[in-house]
């Protein structure tokens, strides 16, 4: 039996495999179905075309992000570079929901994996961004002229369900970011749960987050 898989692979011509070029078609179809009515049919070539568009999109954005890295003599393409490229190439309406999404991701990652990852990010951040920003949203917020508001089509957890968790998850810098973001004045209920825990509770929470 001469069926040595390694030898066979070496002999095969260097073709580009489909799984190197495109997203899995099942995932693409699933996302397509989400926005279509239940009765809609999708032709196979339309599915494939969407699949190709997704790859082209990733390449298009990455090229721009990578050029920026090279200009700034950095080796690593970061999430910030990607967001920057999207903004530059006309996808500025993506930035706000993506920034919120990245925030949630970082909260979850921080929760699951401890702080190692976060510290590594901080180092990169301090090299990449001249001002010492505690987290990327501060840097990204320069894109905004108005405070970010969750758009309707992205699922964001309602703050009311999470206050105790937030207190554990958010660093001081995150808290101050959110306070700034939502204009957290004295009367703001969003800021109230963070900043007046031990202060005088001169207004009642509908459900006190701390027992």
């Amino acid at each position: 039996m001469e069926l040595n898989p390694a030898a066979a692979a070496a002999a095969a011509p260097p073709v580009v495999r489909e799984q190197d070029r495109f997203m899995p078609i099942a995932n693409v179809i699933r996302i397509m179905r989400r926005v279509l009515p239940a009765h809609a049919k999708i032709a196979d070539d339309a599915k494939e075309m969407i699949q190709e568009c997704v790859s082209e999109y990733i390449s298009f954005i990455t090229s721009e992000a990578n050029e920026r890295c090279q200009r700034e003599q950095r080796k690593t393409v970061t999430a910030e570079d990607v967001l920057w490229a999207m903004n530059k190439l006309g996808f500025d309406d993506y930035i706000e929901p993506l920034t919120l999404f990245l925030h949630r991701y970082r909260e979850l990652e921080g929760d699951h994996r401890g702080s190692v990852r976060g510290e590594a990010l901080q180092l990169i951040k301090h090299r990449a961004v001249p001002t010492a920003v505690p987290d990327m949203t501060t840097a990204v917020s320069q894109f905004f002229t108005t405070p970010p508001v969750p758009p309707p089509n992205f699922v964001v957890p309602p703050p009311a369900t999470a206050p105790p968790q937030h207190h554990n998850l958010l660093s001081e810098s995150m808290v101050s970011y959110f306070l700034g973001m939502y204009g957290g004045g004295e009367g703001s209920s969003a800021s109230g749960s963070y900043s007046h825990v031990n202060g005088m509770p001169n207004f009642d929470h509908p459900y006190p987050p701390y027992k």
Partner: protein, 96 residues
């Protein structure tokens, strides 16, 4: 309570991060390193892109009184949207 992710179905990401990273690497020869978070951003961005593209393509199908989405509908969506100019080549040079 956030576990299960935004899409809920395949964990937090409905597109595989490793695949996204591979496509990023292929985008040019000189992409050296990619932060772990960059594909995370793309996973969500691609969902958004597909949503916008498919909604517009479906509108094109309905205009032509069809209930089947064809590739010409996707091409129409690309042609009608400035920000999708970079996809014009893709939808034109489709083989078959």
């Amino acid at each position: 309570m956030l576990v299960g992710g935004v899409s809920g179905r395949t964990g937090p990401h409905s597109l595989p991060l490793a695949r996204i990273k591979r496509i990023m690497k292929r985008s040019s020869d000189d992409v050296r390193m990619i932060s772990a978070e960059a594909p995370v951003v793309f996973s969500k961005a691609c969902e958004h892109l597909i949503g916008v593209l498919v909604r517009r393509a479906w509108a094109a199908a309905l205009r032509r009184k069809r209930r089947t989405l064809l590739k010409e509908d996707v091409a129409a969506a690309v042609a009608n949207t400035d920000v999708f100019d970079f996809l014009v080549q893709v939808v034109q040079q489709q083989p078959k």
